[in-house]
Amino acid sequence: MGFWDVVTGRSKPKQAKLDALFAVPGAAVTLQAALGLVPTGDGAVCYRAAAGAGFAGTQQEILDLLKASDGAPRVTTSQDSFGFTWLEVDHDPIDPANPDLTGLCTDLHAVNTTLELHGYGPGLLCSLIPFTGADGRKVGLVYLYKQGTFYPFAPTGDDQRDNLLEISVRDAAAGELPLEKDLSRWLALWGAPGL
């Protein structure tokens, strides 16, 4: 915030940064090669639903838009205990021999741009793209909209995360994605869909 914003007590809602999502397909290839992590083909967007008719209309528009695309994914919405909405985009499982996340990223981006178009961009919290390893380990690539950065989140049970796996995901993807340098921003997403 600038000096004038502080003096007048006006914090402008922070707009989301959307473009970095398209770097995910490239990073997925790297993660598969380096760590054997394969994307599940699903993805989710977490946002804050605003009160009122305007948001309900926007969300319906997103659902209609996603269902109209070819190879239409299954789309569901759910509320978490923090009052945020998770919009899950459920594609068919990815073929490990030929992983292509472009369709998923296009879908997620469509969600973001529609929300932004109607003025709800500041309500976007994060996007989640889950991966699984051959040994059953799960790790999600989380995109923080406000920072425009990614971080890995690998839950191993209730309130336990596999920090070593997270660090190695960070190191593997460092060349492909803007990764969150401040570890205190790697907030846990317990019970997130797909993990």
């Binding site: 809602p13 009122g52 948001f55 932004e116 178009l117 205190s184």
Partner: protein
């Protein structure tokens, strides 16, 4: 072109800026009068001491307020829910996470203090944790985080420096009246003792800056309400939290209007017109004002798409 649903309040900004300008003018006027009354080498000295006190208040604001409220800092392990809620709000607002404190008192309240967003602390009382549900608590936390983002501690401390100096002078001139009455008669042609002039000037400055400060405080509260509601996108949650904790909930009748036909005359909310002493000196805006603003934000957020 993406539309925005986060409209500012130009009127509020204009009023707030006017008040701050007036506070600055009071400060300058005080310094000028001091320089006229005192020999030039004393006036800056007094001003520096006053500013030093203001600076110290601001610099140690977090620990002073924590001690005054008997609050203790809690770790994510001790209060996971509270921390997770603040984590998410900070990620949404893109601000550094403040420290979190809890005060063991049944009084429902919350405050934020600290010298900068990086060195701030948000404290909630156990009373507010018990009374509010998760959504309402989030609204209150967003309001407090807005205070942090707006650097309200810094702004209010700077704004109060004229009042601090005036208070010091008023105290000092009383000693002057007792001890120095005979000696300090230089430079006043009309025969008034210096200490009396200083006392009157500082009392006037103190009173004016007191009223302006309270006005500024009310505007900052409205700004924090606005920013908080826009952050959580749920103005209704903050509104119901305010109704619960301000203890004025009985002002809005719960009874059905039809059931109360015969009592109708008694249910008309008292029209609050004019300016009373209470509205002039309170640090927070009235519940009605705050709810009115939240209703406007809700309407803007929920306007259907065209």
């Amino acid at each position: 072109m993406a539309r925005t649903r986060f409209v500012g309040d130009a009127g509020l900004t204009a009023r707030m800026t006017t008040v701050m300008f007036l506070l600055g003018a009071v400060f300058v006027a005080l310094i000028v009068v001091l320089m006229l009354i005192f020999p030039a080498r004393y006036a800056p000295f007094i001003a520096v001491i006053g500013l030093g006190i203001a600076w110290w208040q601001w610099y140690s604001s977090d620990s002073i307020a924590m001690k005054a409220m008997r609050a203790r800092e809690v770790t994510p392990q001790q209060a996971p829910e509270l921390h997770a809620m603040i984590d998410r709000l900070c990620a949404l607002a893109d601000m550094p996470k403040p420290r979190v404190g809890v005060a063991d008192t049944d009084l429902p309240n919350a405050f934020a203090t600290g010298r900068s967003p990086k060195r701030s602390v948000v404290v909630v009382t156990t009373g507010i944790l018990h009374r509010l549900d998760a959504e309402e608590l989030e609204g209150v936390l967003a309001h407090e985080l807005s205070h942090v983002a707006h650097r309200d501690v810094l702004v209010m401390t700077v704004a109060s420096s004229a009042g601090i100096i005036a208070g010091m002078l008023a105290r000092g001139s009383q000693y002057g009246a007792i001890f120095g009455g005979g000696r300090d008669r230089r430079g006043n042609n009309n025969g008034l003792p210096v200490w009396l002039v200083v006392l009157v000037v500082s009392l006037v400055v103190y009173a004016v800056s007191f009223l302006l400060l309270r006005l500024l405080s009310r505007y900052r509260e409205l700004s924090a309400d606005r920013a908080g509601a826009q952050l959580t996108m749920k103005p209704q949650a903050l509104a119901s939290a305010l109704q619960k904790i301000t203890g004025e909930i009985n002002r809005i009748p719960q009874r059905d209007l039809r059931a109360a036909q015969s009592m109708n005359a008694f249910f008309i909310a008292p029209a609050i017109g004019g300016v009373s002493l209470r509205t002039l000196t309170s640090t927070h805006p009235s519940l009605e004002q705050r709810l009115e603003q939240l209703a406007r934000i809700e309407a803007e957020l929920g306007r259907p798409n065209v």
